[in-house]
Amino acid sequence: MATGTTHTTWTRAALPLCLLGVLATEEKSYGYALLSRLADAGLDGVKAATLYPALTRLEEEGAVETEWGAGEGGPGRKYYRITDEGRARLHRDRAAWAAFTGAVASLTRTDEPSTAGPSAHTSAHPGE
């Protein structure tokens, strides 16, 4: 798999967590501003075509709530605010993410070539 594709896949997997993290630091925010915050943090691979569906899913899952406010000379702006459920999820997912990255780091830390042969196990999880 190409590195660019890999990074895109990682970004997408972590996007809901990142969005909750940003929203937890602000009273409310809107799509374009969230995209700018992600880009400033180094996640410049996130596009509007991915951001808004992710926000929509978070809203359907009850992690964020929305309200419409006035835009600047254009159509109304949709603001997102994290809910209590979203904060609880942020705490849970942050801990899980830390454990996950720790596990990946422990597996990729060594420079020694592995002596074990390739695993014969084929995962049945469709995402793998």
Binding site: M1, T5, T8, T9, T11, R12, A13, L15, P16, L17, Y30, G31, Y32, G45, V46, K47, A48, A49, T50, Y52, P53, A54, T56, R57, E60, E61, W68, G71, E72, G73, G74, P75, G76, R77, K78, H121, T122, S123, A124, P126, G127
Partner: protein
Amino acid sequence: MAKDRKPAPTWEREEDEDWAAAVEIRLALDHDAPAGLADQVLAEAHQLVHEEGRPALDLLGDPHAYAQLVADERIPEKHRARLDADGLTPGERLTATLVSLGITATLFCGFEWLRDGLWVGIGWSSLALTATVTLGAALTGVALATRAAGRIRGARWFAAGTAGVVCAGVSGTAFVPDGQLFTVPAPLLMLACFAGIIGAVMLPDAALDRWFTPASADSDDSDDEAWFARLDGLLRGRHALPSAQARGHIREARQHLASAPGEERATDVFGDVEIYALRLAEGPSRTRRFARRQFYGSCALTFFLLVMLIDNLSDPDPSPFWLAANTGALGAMIWILVSEWRQSTDRDTSDPTGAGTTTSPDSPS
């Protein structure tokens, strides 16, 4: 996908075999899975079940949910974006309606043969009624296909046409002369219906899809309005979003475009309109939305069956067969209505993946 089809794995438990069959059926019927995907997925599942020594249901969960998970993660977005709630493209939707009509007509002719004998009498009224039902059902199929293509206004015109044909046909039968014109053997009628089914199956789905799909609004068309109109149609027609929700997504997208510097077009920012519509629509509320839409369709069918039953009961010499058939069908529809209403209001009916945004790695961001 795999070009050389491997033999199906032999499951050690009967319950695992049922689980595998359910996954395969759901992948084929609900998700129009590409050839070979089900074989590949089931071979992997079989290996895992064999190694772990536990039933597939315990290990991999509900087959319906597992098929959904496979579809979300392994079927490319471009393929899934073309499908409606039942895993059909607009062309396949029309074909399915015509095939259903042909099967129903064949069965009806068979019942007539059993009830009245080999020769079926044809008069002006039966001709008018047959023409009305055939044209009405065909127009309904076109209306459903047009809606699945995201052409809401077109679907409304075809639905109005259906209503017009039914009203004209029903009122027209009062003015046609009574009496029998000629008789035909029932098997010949069944053969004609069967030929209709074959004809419907032979229809080229790809060509029908092109006919239903409007000219691309996301390639060379620089008109953002066309892109937004197409998005609105797809969200409401193909993905069953309420109008207010669809309008909200479009308003937000417009706001984003207005905020962005430069003169970027909607297609540059949001990409392929069909894929963007899919991404917005495939959240946890998807199952509830489709169940609600099915509920409305079932309401219409229940009303039709009720009218048929009342017609049966008001007949001075009612046919016991049709009375029993109508009563049974109405009872079944009421049971289906209750089930669909529960599903459409169940807050726990969520996306079985329970994961974050599910997008294929090979799709553009």
